[in-house]
Amino acid sequence: MDFGFTEEQTMLGESLARTLERGPDSAALFDLGTGAALMTEEAGGFGGTGADILMVFRTLGRAGAVMPLLDSVVLGAGILAAAGEADLAEAAASGEARVAVALDEPGQRYDGTVATRAEGDRLTGEKSVVPGAEDATHLIVRATDGLWLVEAGAEGLAMRGYALMDGGRAAEVTLKDTAARRIGDVSLLEQPLAAAILAVCADALGVMEKAVELTTDYLKTRKQFGRPIGSFQAVQHRMADLLTEVEQARSAVWNLAGNLDAPDRDRHVAATKSLVGRVALYVAEETIQLHGGIGMTEEYELAPLARRLLAADARFGDSDHHLERFIAVSAA
């Protein structure tokens, strides 16, 4: 039994962290080979295991970096590789191409029901909350009969972009008789989506670790009634509960990373996403409360962490959605 990382994984994590310290430079990240580290050998990469994904995304979460690695590489390139679109997959993994994946539709929440349909090789429909859509060179669209590839700038493709909680951007996307090419069945989504959920959870773990460190420092330095507020038992016990829950989240992330290719992968996906979503919200709420007023301000560095944790829960199904999935998968 081994809960650790290989030397290569550790080195990648370290150089990634150093690069991110100099600022959020996605070209520098791709130059390091981060994209290839997230792809399996069959998909043209040199990693792609649960441990690789955990290492990369926990590091991104700790650094608070907004990068196209989740949507364009883990999910986008992952789907393309599974669909046999090797060239475009490799372009996405190296950062040359940007892929956005349009899964959900208005009013359908997370259940995967879609109305977007193809007529011949033309797609018509509406997709909601498509991260990275504005910058994408290609869109992968879930339609009633499978997954389709749409090129940026195609006729009939319209977007209304907006900011996301995690600092990135998304768009509401409309397709009207838009030229597209079918690349495969919806089932091609399964493995890349499981990997993407691991990525979101590992990112959230990094954010939680950071939030805990920030809060601990604050409790040691902020004084009221002539004492550091961390010396008060009411505060200490809340912090101890918080740490205990973060430890649960850490183990849940490890469980999914270690079982990404296991026969009961889907049970682990649901368990981990449900637990991490629940703990992420708890950590966001508690660290704000433990900071007091300063935790409410945009100026203080907790604000983006708390928002990123909210985003982690809402992405790819929230904790209730995955609790239901866990029940369904366990009963099957």
Binding site: M1, N255, A257
Partner: protein, 398 residues
Amino acid sequence: MDMSFSPEDQAFRAEVRQFLKDRLPARLSEKVRLHQELTKDEIEEWHAVLNEKGWLAGNWPVEFGGAGWTAIQRHIFEEESALAHAPRILPFGIAMLGPVLQKFGSKEQQDHYLPRILNGQDWWCQGYSEPGAGSDLASLKTTAVRDGDHYIVNGQKTWTTLGQHANWIFCLVRTDSTVKAQEGISFLLIDMTTPGITVRPIVLLEGTPEVNEVFFDDVRVPVENLVGKENKGWTYAKYLLTHERTNIAGVGFATAGLAALKRIARAQVANGRPLIENPLFAARLAEVEIDLMAMSTTNLRMLAQAAAGQVPGAESSMLKLKGTQIRQAINDLTRRAVGPWALAFPSEALEGANDDAPPGPAEAAGATRAYLNNRKLSIYGGSNEIQRGIIAKSLLGL
């Protein structure tokens, strides 16, 4: 990263499972499954079976007659034993006193007491808590005053689990009251048949006399029964507590409890469907199961760290906290699952005070009893509030 057990550990698990299948009497496992009280003879019977196999003291080195298992092997044994509803190995001699004697006891003490723990000649109990010394254990007041080659012991111990069956008690006693509380405590072994000792049972809220008060009135204890040095008892007590904390997560108990809960929830009917399909109940159940999956991995991560030579610190406090929360949540759901039969007070039926079986499904009485009895989980072994204090102080440096 490889989350699977090594082939050696998997083979060990298979061996343990086969042993339990061959040697665990159904008579005993059925009582454990239904949370019925085991008699002294029944507990000793299981100890003897394990001792014959050389598996009674998995945590002891081979040189002292133990199995010398790794932390992972011990975890596997505990998990399989819980899943098979084997009686729990009494911790007092094996998990608590044994390691203290091996580390701090004299050669004579080791040669005399350790084999007697294994072969069942002695049944030990723990004399730590006092009416005025619970979480603040170091404030204990039971005194031992030197008189020639004896100590004269006076005072009172409490919460002495299964002390009614014990013939020996290891005690923390005050041998110096002029110094800081922790520096005047000694570790003394006392024969329960010595004149001046009175044991009074305490009936717990589920109706069983699981614990006792033990009174000491001018009890004469030979000085050779002192473990280690006089006034160094607190060091030994802390060492003992770290051993008490192995298996503190109770993963095996929780896993077995969850399996039992699912069996009940499949058999019970709510609105014409099995209770396990009721959305509200299923959600509560799933949340606990997901928590247990994560906690069980935390436990294995800590065991792997221990195997790599790292000393577990405050992480074991997190395991205590989360482990007891999960077990109590399972007890609560099991009690809910039996529906209106949770109204019945199970005490009479479980003690065999009348010949009638308890009302409702066979598990009902045990479910309510376990719920009540396991309120203790978050109180003993350092209450959960004490654990939170340890986490805050050592992990946060607050």
